[in-house]
């Protein structure tokens, strides 16, 4: 690949990264592009935060406070522009920033003879990895990857060199981004530490100064959110964090019989790429490849630990493996192919191979959730969703200009507490959390703020009955039929629709 070996690597990087970046931009800014439901859910939660509502008091979710702070940025900017466009623009800028920072990090070559990777190859890998997860743009794992990538590259560059040659401002920027990424969800810090363990094993040393800067940045983020409101952290540590951890050892029996999406094909791809990468790498030149292999493996472990098979939980694994694939292919094609053909063929091949399963057209056509929302509510009215896998409902509510009014953004905690109780008595914290949630949902339904209630059927209906919440629902809402939506992981999610009396 001539361009990779040119004297002006930044120019080659731009040349190579441009086609996939244009593809991403074209997809992202096309009117048909819709953010993944998880992104929409948290954007709406951020709207509630900006409107003065408090996490764990006015609404409840297992997410971390820093996550909502990040999603608040496009919501805040949406005062000046359309929310979808603002969000698209911010995600795109974050991608470009991640790409630019990474290129600048590898620009300063380490002091030893073998450079870990060239900036053109890296730029192509970043763009292709993002292209592969394009349908999951804006989800938490995708944001995490954008924020983490410069840090990982920085660490490799530093470990490969005798001393860190990267400018301190760039180190601080990468550390701050990684710290923000790790603050987005509980297991992400573990992913980063897993990668750091890899570096420790591979190089037998830790670059303490960079890690110190990272730790300081993490502490600052923590402090910032504490200063915003300490009661949020009390709620998080007392209730949300223990439940989030409990979820990792929870197996949802309701997923038996589910068929969509089937990630087996991705796992075949994953195994083959790992094998090819292992064969194509020699120790001196494959450190970055190996690091992204480890990242992909930790992403796979995280996906398995989440246990629900949702596509937005596999983004780290897809990103890592595509990154690895591109770097391995570049290494392989270096002697045989020309830059131009690689730049065209690689992204196309990656898109073809890693396309995340799309909803079958017939099932999409059979969606009736839009009709239910349109016929039974007006624009700007609130709709409460009580569902264990509610993302699709939030997506449709947002698209149809209604406002979610649920107390529990996701009913998973109720199900989790119920199922934990079946095994053994709940501890004091779990019990108080359960009582608090039930009281708040009762209050939410009794307040009749929402015009409609979408209740995932039949599992959540049964759960409401168990918790004694059916009565308050029946007292304030009347049944208005059923609707369905195509969504992971059931394929078709059924909702019973309740209209305010």
């Amino acid at each position: 690949m001539a361009a990779i070996e040119t004297d002006a690597p930044e120019a080659s990087a731009i040349l190579l990264a441009l086609p996939p970046l244009l593809l991403i931009s074209w997809r992202l800014f096309s009117p048909q592009f819709v953010f993944a439901p998880q992104a929409i859910l948290y954007l709406d939660a951020a709207r509630r935060v900006l409107a003065g509502e408090k996490l764990y008091t006015d609404f409840w979710d297992l997410c971390q406070p820093a996550l909502l702070a990040l999603y608040s940025v496009p919501q805040w900017l949406s005062a000046f522009c359309d929310l979808a466009l603002t969000t698209k623009l911010l995600v795109w800028l974050l991608l470009v920033a991640s790409l630019t920072a990474t290129i600048f990090i590898v620009r300063v070559k380490p002091t030893n003879a073998v450079a870990p990777v060239s900036s053109p190859a890296l730029a192509l890998a970043i763009c292709c990895a993002n292209l592969a997860v394009c349908s999951q743009f804006g989800t938490v794992q995708h944001l995490f990857m954008l924020l983490l990538t410069p840090w990982l590259v920085l660490r490799i560059v530093t470990c490969e060199g005798v001393r860190s040659p990267v400018h301190i401002a760039l180190v601080m920027l990468a550390a701050a981004a990684a710290a923000l990424g790790c603050a987005l969800d509980l297991p992400y810090l573990a992913v980063l530490l897993f990668c750091e363990c890899f570096l420790l094993l591979r190089y037998g040393a830790i670059k303490v100064r960079q890690l110190f800067i990272f730790a300081m940045a993490l502490a600052l983020i923590f402090l910032f959110t504490i200063l915003m409101d300490i009661s949020i952290w009390q709620g998080y540590f007392q209730w949300a964090m223990p439940l989030r951890l409990a979820k990792f050892s929870y197996f949802d029996g309701g997923l038996l019989g589910t068929t969509f999406p089937n990630h087996s094909n991705f796992l075949y791809f994953f195994a083959v790429v790992l094998l090819a990468a292992y064969y194509s790498g020699n120790r001196a030149q494959s450190s970055l490849r190996s690091l992204f292999a480890v990242l992909a493996l930790s992403g796979l472990a995280l996906f398995i630990a989440e246990g629900d098979g949702l596509s937005y939980h596999i983004v780290i694994a897809v990103y890592g493996i595509v990154f690895l694939l591109v770097l391995s292919l570049i290494s392989l094609l270096k002697q045989t192919w020309q830059t131009a053909s690689a730049a065209i063929v690689l992204p196309l091949a990656i898109v073809a191979i890693t396309a995340i399963p799309q909803a079958p057209a017939d099932l999409l056509a059979s969606q009736t959730i839009d009709n239910a929302i349109l016929n039974l509510s007006e624009e700007g009215e609130q709709i409460t969703v009580i569902a264990q896998y509610p993302d699709v409902a939030y997506s449709r509510i947002s698209a149809l200009q209604r406002l979610p009014g649920s107390y529990l953004l996701n009913a998973m905690p109720l199900r989790l507490l119920h199922d934990l109780q079946l095994g053994q008595p709940l501890n004091d914290k779990q019990f108080s959390c359960q009582a608090f949630l039930v009281a708040k949902i009762t209050e939410n339904l009794a307040s009749r703020k929402a015009t409609l209630v979408l209740l995932e059927a039949p599992r959540q209906s049964e759960l409401l009955r168990i918790y004694g919440l059916s009565k308050v629902l029946l007292d304030n809402y009347s049944p208005a039929g059923h609707c369905q939506a195509f969504a992971e992981p059931y394929g078709t999610t059924q909702f019973s629709v309740w209209r305010r009396k």
């Binding site: 589910t258 999406p261 195994a271 398995i304």
Partner: protein
């Protein structure tokens, strides 16, 4: 292979290593003595098939199965031994597997001992532990074909890598490893394929095909060829059932047992275990890539085993055993690299190495330690033996079988799978009453009929008629019929009216969703 002189001051690690290996090897032996009836479905059904084979029944004609027959031949060993010493065949089977693990470990240890001067000798003790830990963590899948494969193949795997490293492989050990590997790879076609890919990987790694003709390879290839040739001796009738019925039904109908990935995650906690192990082991392999030439073949074995497990597409956890072994080999290699660093006084590696070793040792013992059940509330006299066993080891149908039949009576379970008919019938010391020891063929045929009705519908009729014929000929004392799937299928063909007029309905077993009929 590079050799260096072993320093005498370093002998204590060898003693510690031997003690650790012995502790891990023998720590679960009391468990299998204390649980004489602990067995799971597939293993028990092959023991029953082996018993039928020893009684002169014809393979595939009088004993129907989808798999190649080697596993049935192997199971005749515990059956013969159990008859000789009058102990439950299940206990003898479990101890036979234990013995096989000892044999495999001893053979591997002997190969390592012959190469004790090798520069990478620090890898040997951790490597020796890999198949042992893998064995000791098996409960449901102890003695499954995949488990036998890893035990039989592992010495060969070690032997081949050392051969490429120009190691010292005494001919007797190479021949023994070749014989064991031939048995292992002949158990299932995918095992043979795994071995073949690994051989190609070794040739690629060392850029040489000269060692294809090594003695262990020759023995392995010869015995595998002999096994393939023996099919000719099975007879026209057996081959006809095997090729015209069993394998077409298997290839077209196995999808009945396929499940989605998410469903697997949601249904069984052990489903995710190999994936966590994979993440850890492959990360170590990437971190330590290039530190030892053993990593590449071990990684190949691991990822090929992952592909093989994915290809199965079912929740059958035993399909993941080779993957588990691959991961444990990689973890063992990493521990070995750490040991080497530690004993070579590479100071900067010492702290992480020590931490990794302590973690590995704790993990190892936590994984393999299994206290025996102390509640021995089942008197083995009920099934014709002396001693006691925990009733928690008994399968669902055992109480009903014991209550309504005598030792040695014939019993049939007609359901969708092997469980709960087996291991119940074997645990109760009863004999199978039909050529179909399990009913997997029925749902598979239903799937096949959806694809090609004209070909498979007559087969379903034939199978049900065969069941009827077996009832009339063998006169089983008890017949268990699955309520959900089989009962409606048989009702359409008036099975009970045609073949079971001499039977009375005696009970429903809700937990097993089946109805029990007893001969009048």
């Amino acid at each position: 292979m590079n050799t260096t002189k072993v320093s005498t001051k370093n002998n204590w690690p060898i003693a510690v290593g031997i003690l650790i290996v012995l502790a891990v090897v023998f720590c679960k032996l009391p468990y299998w003595f204390a649980h004489p009836l602990a067995i799971h479905a597939d293993q028990s059904v092959y023991l029953a098939m082996a018993d039928l084979l020893l009684k002169g029944k014809k393979l595939y004609v009088d004993i129907f199965d989808f798999n190649p027959p080697l596993i049935i031949y192997l199971n005749t060993i515990p059956v013969v031994l159990a008859n000789l010493i009058n102990r439950p065949v299940i206990q003898v089977f479990n101890l036979s597997i234990y013995f096989l693990m000892l044999l495999s470990t001893t053979l591997t240890a002997a190969i390592f001992y012959a190469n004790r001067q090798a520069s990478d000798r620090y890898l040997f003790f951790p490597l020796l532990l890999a198949p042992v830990v893998c064995t000791q963590t098996q409960f449901y899948d102890f003695g499954q074909r995949e488990h036998l494969f890893i035990l039989l193949y592992f010495p060969f795997f070690v032997c081949r890598i050392l051969r490429y490293q120009s190691g010292n492989i005494p001919t007797a050990l190479a021949v023994t490893a070749g014989i064991l590997a031939a048995i292992g790879v002949s158990l299932k076609p995918q095992f043979f394929l795994t071995a073949l890919i690994l051989e190609a990987s070794l040739a690629w790694q060392w850029r040489s095909i000269k060692l294809f003709g090594s003695v262990e390879n020759k023995i392995c290839a010869l015995l595998t060829a002999v096994y393939l040739l023996h099919f000719v001796l099975l007879g026209q009738q057996s081959l006809s059932v095997l090729f015209d019925q069993a394998w077409p039904i298997y290839s077209n109908g196995l999808s009945y047992f396929h499940i989605g990935f998410i469903e697997g995650l949601a249904s069984l906690s052990s489903f995710s275990y190999p994936y966590y192990l994979l993440a850890l082991a492959m990360s170590l392999a990437f971190a330590l890539q290039g530190r030892s030439c053993w990593f590449l073949p071990a990684t190949t074995f691991t990822l090929i085993s992952l592909l093989s497990m994915l290809q199965a597409g079912s929740i059958w956890t035993y399909r993941g055993i080779p993957l588990q072994l691959g991961c444990l080999i990689l973890i063992a290699l990493s521990a070995g690299v750490g040991l080497e660093a530690l004993f070579n006084y590479k100071a900067r590696m010492a702290a992480p190495t020590l931490a990794a070793l302590v973690c590995s040792a704790v993990l190892c013992f936590c994984q393999v330690w299994a206290p025996a059940n102390t509640d021995y509330d089942f008197d083995l006299a009920q099934i014709g033996y002396s001693g006691r066993a925990p009733s928690s080891d008994l399968s669902l149908l055992v109480p009903s079988i014991i209550a309504h039949s005598q030792i040695g009576d014939r019993v049939i379970y007609i359901g969708r799978g092997v469980r709960p008919g087996y291991p119940s019938i074997l645990q109760a010391h009863r004999h199978p009453g039909s050529r179909y020891l399990h009913g997997m063929i029925l749902p598979m045929l239903v799937v096949c009929i959806e694809k090609d009705p004209s070909r498979f519908k007559p087969m379903l009729d034939l199978v049900i008629a065969n069941y009827g014929q077996d009832v009339l000929t063998n006169k089983p004392k008890l017949i268990f019929i699955d309520d959900i799937f089989v009962a409606p299928l048989f009702a359409q063909r008036r099975f009970i009216e045609k073949y079971m007029t001499n039977y009375e309905l005696i009970e429903h077993i809700d937990q097993a969703a089946c109805t029990v009929y007893r001969s009048k």
